[in-house]
Symmetry: C2
Subunit: 183 residues, 2 copies
């Protein structure tokens, strides 16, 4: 695994919510017994600003479910439209059958505080630890605490993907400014 | 309150997730003691396809929190960029102080199965009952069941708003088709 490229910049934890709140499709990386895996996920929400807590819903039919439940670590990687093909291939295949990093051509980079890798082709990375599993059995809902976050400062206006279902994705449009006082 | 306009069309419950999964800002309407209120919300996720379950996180500092907790009913209304000004005004004011429907100029329409009103200016409406409050005290996380859903079929490509924080909003861009087998 290559070293993390120096162009990744740390994101203050208080600003993490701004990356997830718009609702992008993310790539969740896990690692179990030294083997990394990645899944495509859209069912997530912020739960708390700081420390940032994220709720994410993962079916027990997903191969990543057991890895997340037992290792209690993951990385939420945020892809942009340039790698839409890889995002779809992550969603169409299972880590039970293939090494997705190798077959899809994603590049794992070492994280700083957790075992699962960052995905080099994504523009943002949230290193997470599982903070609460009480809703896992009933809903597949994991509460994650983001412990470290990174962005690629060279990516000025990454266009995220937003899943509508069955092959339909909205691509993030323009960002506008409004006189809102909402954090 | 006027009758619901006939142009609203029912959405099959199995298709509700496609409205929320992209992560739009929504307007949550509640009603307590006959008085409707509305808040702007972005912290929500799908939890189950069918019956559709939605997790939404509402701070106990929001006036809507007590109404939702006690009445266990709400409507998730989805606005598009044309009413961004109203969305921001809903977020900048509190139902403690003002009647938001009157001051902001939103039109309440009767829902079919719950007391809180639909908001006529929005293009989609999910009538919800609270299904689980066990995560409310700790996280402000309500599990809602969507019992009926409506869209305005005249709105062909509504551009939703996606909150980045502090006055910054992403406006939904184009929808693309990809060879995804993900539901």
């Amino acid at each position: 695994m290559p070293r993390r490229e120096p162009r990744r910049r740390s994101v203050p934890l208080a600003k993490v919510y701004g990356l997830l709140e718009p609702g992008p499709v993310v790539l969740l990386s896990t690692a179990q017994r030294g083997r990394p895996n990645v899944m495509t996920m859209s069912w997530h929400t912020m739960i708390e600003f700081e420390p940032p807590l994220v709720g994410c819903v993962i079916s027990d039919r997903n191969f990543s479910y057991a890895a997340l439940k037992s290792t209690r670590q993951c990385v939420i990687n945020i892809p942009s439209v340039e790698i839409a093909d890889a995002v779809v291939r992550c969603g169409n295949t299972s880590g039970r059958d293939v090494d997705k990093f190798a077959t899809i051509g994603l590049t794992p980079l070492p994280a700083s505080q957790v075992q699962p890798p960052l995905i080099a082709e994504c523009f943002a990375h949230l290193e997470c630890r599982v903070a609460d599993t009480r809703m896992v059995n009933r809903y597949g809902l994991f509460v994650l605490e983001v412990v470290t976050a990174w962005i690629d400062p060279a990516r000025k206006d990454p266009r995220t993907l937003h899943h509508r279902g069955w092959g339909s994705f909205m691509v993030a449009g323009a960002t506008i400014r409004l006189p809102s006082r909402m954090r």
